[in-house]
């Protein structure tokens, strides 16, 4: 009895411990599965168990199964690495009756530690404003450009100025290139590239009167658009102008890039937003967004949502997968600038106000998340700082850096953008970035396009292939005509040959007619059907002889080897025979042939004679 009890107890224990372990495992799995969907890549074909079963080829089935499990495994492993992420995103929560939008910056600063408080600053620059603004990709450096010609760059966390200078002309925009060593400035007429010391490196004279600059870091493309409405892509690694597109929609001063697929979005005065890639001369997509000029655009980092603001006082959120409007907000004065942070906060600058909206894409919000006011100023430009809870704002009389909790991505990827990178790391990453530069041809709306199967029907594919082939043959130069030595070659025939054979026009018909006439004449002459017209040389005629060269004959008769003979007729003859050789008109040639055959070659077996 007792032994059975013991064994039962043991079994129970075992069962308990097993269950516990199982539970733990399940818990573990649960926490992981929560995050897995984030890491699962969009699949071209979803293979369920049924589909896998229906495949008959065992080898293919095995390979597919292996691949499927590999993908699942990869997603799970990526989700598991989240445990290693050390930082948590910032937040701002109101208690009781408080509202987050009522907190002022001073109140926020008083609640956080000193380190953060340092990041909040205002710089009053009343003389050269309003200020355009940009952060580098790792958020370490800041470039500002006053409309009236003031340019300065900072390593702002260290409070160190990199360079400051005045160009003494209008400035419309400023943008960092791939790292903090170079930046591009849209000045009065041209775009200029400066290095970190403020030394002018390039003047891009092809970019005229530019309003906005964008830089595509993975493609090394500088994109500009300006008053003339030309969208230009310039490769900053090779210096080549990749393409110029005419938007045909006039002046443009609202541009942004979709960071997810490197498509350029332009906002136009007629209220449309157009999407561009360097590979198409026409916009990929045209959306009518506002009943009035578009003022500002912003696209979120996952490439799903776009925010637009127009002079009609509307602020609209769009889903750029379906190109449909999601929410519409009203701004009391038109919003001058928009920016979307890494964690999806939407910053709106209108008049002197800065409003930040949270979760504005998924649900319609009733009130902003954080607000700020610059009294007596107009907001001109603003950007969220990458990897920081900071919003940089440029306005008419200076710049300020505001604290917005929960804006920046807390955990950066060192190999992508490293705020703490050393000089060596920067150099290394520059080389790697250049090696992995994506060709401009790869810019497409669908980022997973590379290596996808073309699922069009066979007929469509065939048609496309044919078109391509035609284009290729059209572009290739026609083969240069060989000069054929054999046979009779005339200018008329050559002309006909060079013409396309399937085009029949009046000229062609006339030439063909003329050729036919000549041929007939020749035949008749050879048969002796035509009476020859009398000439001055008739008197030399004695007998028929088939072939003879006229000048040799002349030298025979007159004892000269050149055309310096006393007889004018022979001299003329020799002249004309030479011109024939050089390709003189046909009629003359016939004339000569006729002379040589009938009149001059009357002497029989003249070859046997020696010259006197």
């Amino acid at each position: 009895m007792s032994t059975t009890d013991q064994t039962a107890a043991r079994q129970d224990n075992n069962v308990n411990s097993k269950q516990e372990k199982k539970k733990e495992k399940e818990k573990d799995i649960e926490t992981v599965t929560l995050n897995i969907p984030k890491y699962v890549r969009e699949k071209e074909i979803v293979l369920g168990k049924k589909q896998l079963k229906s495949i008959k080829d065992k080898k293919v089935k095995g390979t597919l199964r292996r691949i499927e499990s590999k993908y699942a495994d990869a997603a799970e492993k990526a989700a598991r690495t989240e445990m290693l992420l050390t930082e948590d995103p910032g937040y701002l929560e109101a208690e009781g009756m408080e509202k987050t939008y009522n907190f002022t910056q001073d109140q926020l600063i008083s609640a956080v530690d000193e380190e953060v408080a340092k990041k909040r600053f205002d710089i009053s620059l009343p003389t050269f404003g309003p200020y355009a603004f940009d952060y580098t990709r790792n958020g370490r450096h800041m470039a500002i450009a006053g409309r009236k010609g003031h340019i300065a760059t900072y390593n702002w966390p260290l409070d160190r100025k990199m360079c400051e200078f005045h160009v003494k002309e209008n400035i419309r925009d400023i943008k960092w290139l791939h790292n903090e060593l170079y930046f591009a400035v849209a000045q009065k007429k041209y775009v200029y590239i400066y290095d970190h010391n403020g030394l002018e490196l390039h003047c891009l004279k092809k970019h005229i009167e530019v309003n906005k600059i964008e830089f595509l870091p993975y493609h090394f493309l500088l994109v500009t658009v300006g008053n003339a409405g030309w969208l230009k892509y310039q490769d900053t690694s090779t210096g080549k102008l990749v393409c110029e597109h005419r938007t045909k929609l006039g002046k443009c001063d609202a541009m942004t890039q979709n960071p997810w697929n490197a498509i350029i979005h332009l906002g136009h005065v007629n209220g449309t937003v157009t999407l561009w890639s360097p590979n198409m001369a026409t916009p990929l997509v045209k959306m009518l967004t506002h009943r009035g000029p578009v003022r500002a655009l912003a696209v979120d980092h996952s490439g799903k949502y776009m925010a637009t603001s127009g002079l009609d006082g509307q602020l609209k959120i769009w889903d750029i997968r379906t190109y449909k409007s999601l929410h519409e907000y009203y701004t009391p004065t038109p919003a001058a600038c928009l920016s979307i942070s890494q964690l999806g906060l939407l910053g709106v600058g209108w008049g002197p106000h800065v409003w930040v909206w949270k979760d504005a894409f998924t649900t319609k919000q009733q009130s902003p998340y954080v607000t700020h006011i610059e009294r007596g100023a107009q907001i001109h430009d603003m950007h969220f700082c990458p990897y920081e809870d900071i919003l940089g704002v440029g306005y008419s009389s200076g710049i300020s850096s505001l604290v917005v909790p929960g804006a920046g991505e807390p955990n950066f990827d060192s190999l992508e953008a490293n705020p703490y990178q050393t000089k060596k790391q920067r150099q290394e990453s520059e080389v790697h970035a250049l090696l992995e530069k994506i060709q401009p041809e790869a810019i497409t709306l669908d980022t997973t396009f590379v290596g996808k199967i073309d699922r069009a029907s066979k007929a469509v594919i065939e048609k496309e292939r044919k078109q391509e082939e035609e284009e290729r043959t059209k572009n290739s130069k026609p083969a240069k005509e060989k000069k054929k030595m054999r046979g009779r070659n005339t200018a008329l025939k050559r002309y006909l040959r060079k013409k396309q054979s399937n085009v029949i026009d009046g000229k062609r018909l006339a030439i063909e007619k003329e050729l036919a006439r000549q041929r007939e004449l020749r035949q008749k002459r050879s048969l002796g059907e035509i009476e020859k017209p009398p000439t001055a040389l008739d008197r030399f005629e004695k007998k028929q002889m088939s072939l003879f060269s006229p000048w040799k004959l002349a030298s025979y008769f007159f004892g000269t080897s050149d055309n310096s003979s006393g007889c004018p007729a022979i001299g003329q003859l020799i002249e004309s025979s030479k011109t024939l050789e050089n390709g003189k008109p046909v009629s003359e040639a016939y004339h000569l042939k006729w002379i040589s055959c009938s009149e001059l070659s009357g002497v029989e077996s003249i070859d046997h004679f020696t010259e006197p």
Binding site: G90, L92, E409, N411, S414, T422, E436, T447, G451
Partner: protein, 439 residues
């Protein structure tokens, strides 16, 4: 309640310059846009680098005064190789130093075959002077033993474990090392046998190929031939698959190589096409995954044993007709002996780096291998990966061959079109060249 992002720099910056840089990863796809395009660019770079680093030639072992017509590996020593030349000289090489360790004027006339004993200390050679000689390089340059035969020998091969070796002449003779006369002779029709090769796994089975286009299999246990197959053209060499004991591959005069299952020889398992001249020798890699062939067109090709076309082709300006090839026993190198009297050492993978690799380097190489495999079917990558520089005369021969083959095909198709339906049946490519099998 407020929390604003702050980072402690000490957690992100290394303390001392001797430390490694601290790398933080975040695999969130949003932080890594344009993933596929970037990966494709990386794959393109990887495949370009592979072609850039493809320098397969390691070195030439020179010393022979006549062409090298036979070679043998030592099964015990990775750096050892023996080669026999047209003037009767036999040389033992040290591959690491690329020097001759030992040499002897072994035969009068051409040395037709060399082989190594399973213990790795004794070498055997045979020649047109009707002798088989046993050499012990550690002891002296005089032969340890000499067997006198009746015929000029064409090849020799040693049993995997026993002190037994086989020679081929007008017949195949099996010798015991301790006896002066052959213990067994086999013959089946052919007047001359070119090659004889022992199966290294099924040790008692050996294959020979005759001048009358036949391939004959023998079993020493029964003392009789197993099967005989006749092909359209002569077979020059045979190599047994070291991993699949029943498979062997033959180098044929018709510019192709054929893999056969010895149990079912009426159909080839695989055909290796790419050479533009008769294939003279063939050898399997010890893994059984790859095959190296040498041909009369002065090129050496490496095939994957399950694919029909070569993965790589090696040639140099100075290399003449290749008469013997060997895959090294670590499967990293390939050796070729040619008419110009040189033995050449090549890397089996043209762009592989020799020597030790650091962890990062190895990781990078593995990653780029995966990338290449993933994007191998994209046109640009396939084009670069497949591109090989080939001498002009071989290129023109390839074109000519292509024209000939298509003409043949067209002719056959025309014949089929103009005959009664079914009278000209389609024939499997793998059966076409086999005339018959006798058992």
């Amino acid at each position: 309640k407020v929390k604003v992002l702050t980072r402690k720099p000490e957690e992100y910056i290394r303390e001392k310059s001797s430390d490694l840089h601290r790398i933080r990863r975040n695999y969130d796809p949003v932080l890594h846009p344009l993933e596929k395009a970037r990966e494709y660019t990386r794959a393109l770079n990887a495949v370009k680098l592979e072609r850039m680093f493809a320098k397969p030639f390691v070195g030439a072992l020179n010393g022979h005064n006549d062409g090298v017509y036979c070679m043998a590996k030592n099964p015990r020593k990775i750096t050892s190789l023996i080669s026999g030349s047209g003037d009767g000289e036999i040389r033992l090489w040290d591959l690491a130093d690329r020097t001759t360790v030992w040499s002897v004027q072994g035969h009068k006339g051409i040395v037709k075959g060399v082989c190594c004993s399973p213990a790795g200390n004794v070498y055997l050679s045979c020649g047109l002077d009707k002798t088989v000689k046993v050499w012990n390089p550690d002891v002296s340059t005089e032969p340890a033993n000499t067997y006198l035969g009746k015929f000029a020998y064409s090849a020799i091969d040693h049993h995997r474990s026993d002190p037994i070796f086989a020679t081929s002449s007008t017949q195949i003779e099996i010798w015991d090392e301790s006896r002066s006369q052959p213990i067994n002779t086999f013959s089946w029709g052919a007047d001359t046998i070119n090659t004889v090769r022992f199966n290294q796994t099924e040790k008692s089975i050996l294959a020979g190929c005759g001048n009358d286009r036949s391939i004959i299999l023998y079993d020493m246990r029964t003392g009789s031939p197993l099967a005989k197959m006749v092909m359209e053209m002569k077979t020059n060499a045979i190599s047994w698959n070291p991993m699949e004991a029943f498979n062997f591959t033959t180098a044929n005069e018709d510019q192709n190589c054929y893999t056969f299952d010895m149990r079912k020889m009426n159909v080839a398992l695989n055909i290796f096409k790419d050479h533009v001249s008769a294939v003279l020798d063939i050898d399997y890699s010890p893994t059984g995954e790859e095959i190296v062939t040498g041909a009369y067109d002065r090129t050496l090709r490496i095939f994957r044993s399950r694919e029909g076309h070569s993965r790589d082709v090696y040639h140099t300006k100075r290399m003449q007709r290749i008469f013997c090839v060997k895959y090294s026993i670590d499967s990293k190198f390939v050796l070729s002996g040619s008419d110009d009297g040189n033995v050449r050492l090549w890397k089996a993978k043209a762009s592989e780096k020799l020597g030790a690799k650091s962890y990062r380097e190895r990781a990078y190489l593995e990653y780029s291998e995966q990338l290449k495999a993933r994007y191998k079917d994209l046109p640009e990558i396939r084009r670069i990966a497949r591109h090989r520089h080939i001498p002009k005369d071989i290129k023109s021969m390839q074109q000519k061959k292509q024209i000939m083959l298509s003409a043949q095909k067209r002719k056959e198709e025309n014949l089929r079109k103009h005959s009664k339906e079914g009278t000209v049946p389609y024939q499997a490519e793998r059966k076409k060249k086999i005339i018959g099998v006798a058992k």
